[in-house]
């Protein structure tokens, strides 16, 4: 079975720097033999979390929209790439809106304790954060990491790597960046091979 990869594009801006970087990553995974899907969040119909905590009682979200089937898909893949540009030192409202909706999965894990991910499961499910920023500060991504870390942790993925490039204003776009796109393609290849390696290890142990 091929390694399943899903890439979420959290930018409101189609085919911009972040989505282009995500595309390069996905191309790398496809070339390595993965089955790949890309989801553009701005084209989905979902609302942000209401903070009602109803999910703390039964592990279900009361908001029935396109976020729920998307989470079903996310929980079914081996590799999840989450892409967002940096706006105001954080991820976009579109991506944060989706991440906040994972509260019902968090509630299953930590309140109801009906969901548990083994270490093996976490190790074989890889999460990648992809981002670009106009600013040249190295710390421009720092405030985005805690939400991404919490998200991968909630859904049972290992936070495997970042593909991030700043100074978009200086380079006049990711296409002119000296290394970013090649690095993204390489990391796509690498993560698929890593997941395949873990599968082979598990099979060898099983025998």
């Amino acid at each position: 079975m091929p390694v399943k990869v899903i890439g979420l594009s959290g930018s409101p801006h189609r085919h911009g720097n972040t989505e282009t970087l995500l595309d390069a990553f996905l191309e790398g995974t496809r070339d390595a033999g993965a089955s790949v899907e890309k989801v553009v969040l701005k084209e989905l119909d979902y609302s942000a979390c209401r903070g009602c905590n109803a999910c703390h009682k039964d592990g279900e979200c009361i908001v029935k929209d396109e976020a729920i089937p998307l989470f079903d898909k996310i929980l079914d893949v081996d590799c999840l790439a989450v892409a967002s540009p940096i706006y105001s030192m954080g991820i976009t409202a579109e991506l944060k809106g989706l991440i906040d909706r994972a509260q019902y999965i968090w509630a299953r894990k930590f309140i109801l304790k009906t969901l548990y991910f083994t270490n093996e499961h976490i190790r074989s499910h890889k999460g990648i954060f992809i981002s670009t920023a106009g600013q040249d500060w190295d710390y421009v991504f720092d405030a985005a990491f805690p939400a991404i870390t919490a998200f991968f942790n909630t859904i049972g993925f290992e936070y495997y790597d970042n593909i991030i490039a700043n100074q978009m204003d200086r380079w006049k776009g990711v296409k002119n960046h000296p290394t970013a796109l090649a690095e993204a393609r390489e990391k796509g290849d690498k993560v698929v091979r890593a997941i395949e390696g873990i599968r082979q290890e598990a099979e060898a142990k099983g025998k």
Binding site: P12, M89, G90, T92, K96, G97, D100, A147
Partner: protein
């Protein structure tokens, strides 16, 4: 001159912990005769996310027509801007993040078009207050939100030294803040300190 306080309750949950913290601050401020308080619930303000189109760098305004048309002038003309928001998933909640991203138009004015964001007589006389609550008991639970909050205040001419914070962790279920040992007192003290400071800056 009355001191104008604009308060934005950023939580999608009405009258929850972060909004209660805000109400404590505002109730204390309202006791002062020279203070005018306006409170807006972001959940009812119809503010959509930024489209990332960068048109504001040329047009000096946003291409979207929504609640931000009403909110924008209030934000740039108040003396004290208070924002309350809960922490969801280690960051500021998405609804508040959407509003902050719309401050891009102020950023364009300040750094690209280089036109004034606030009236000259308000410069150096504005204070910001950020109030937050989080369920987790980790002290670092607010760290992801603070840089975004700073961005928000900076682009409307409220520098770091003029931002006041009150962030209360370990309050999750609705009403949990009511049994917090110090939050109400801290909120009232903060309110008095902020009004005293603005009066001094205005020479009142």
């Amino acid at each position: 001159m009355p001191i104008k306080v604009l308060a934005i309750a950023g939580s999608p949950r009405r009258h929850g912990n972060s909004e209660t913290l805000l109400d404590w601050v505002l109730d204390e401020m309202r006791k002062e005769k020279d203070v005018e308080v306006e409170k807006i619930a972001l959940d009812e303000a119809d503010v959509r996310p930024c489209k990332g189109c960068n048109a504001c760098e040329i047009l000096n305004e946003c291409v979207q027509r929504d609640g931000m048309d009403v909110l924008g002038p209030k934000i740039t003309s108040c003396h004290v801007m208070v924002v309350s928001a809960p922490i969801f998933c280690m960051g500021i909640n998405a609804q508040t993040k959407a509003m902050i991203d719309r401050f891009q138009v102020f950023r364009s004015r300040k750094y690209v078009l280089k036109v004034p964001v606030v009236a000259p007589e308000l410069k150096g006389k504005r204070l910001g207050v950020f109030l937050s609550t989080a369920g987790q008991d980790w002290g670092h639970v607010f760290n992801g939100a603070i840089p975004t909050v700073k961005c928000m205040f900076h682009v409307v001419d409220i520098p770091d030294r003029d931002i006041h914070y009150l962030m209360v962790n370990k309050v999750d279920e609705k009403g949990a803040i009511l049994s917090h040992p110090t939050a109400k007192q801290d909120a009232e003290n903060l309110a008095r300190d902020v009004i005293t400071e603005v009066r001094a800056r205005l020479g009142q």
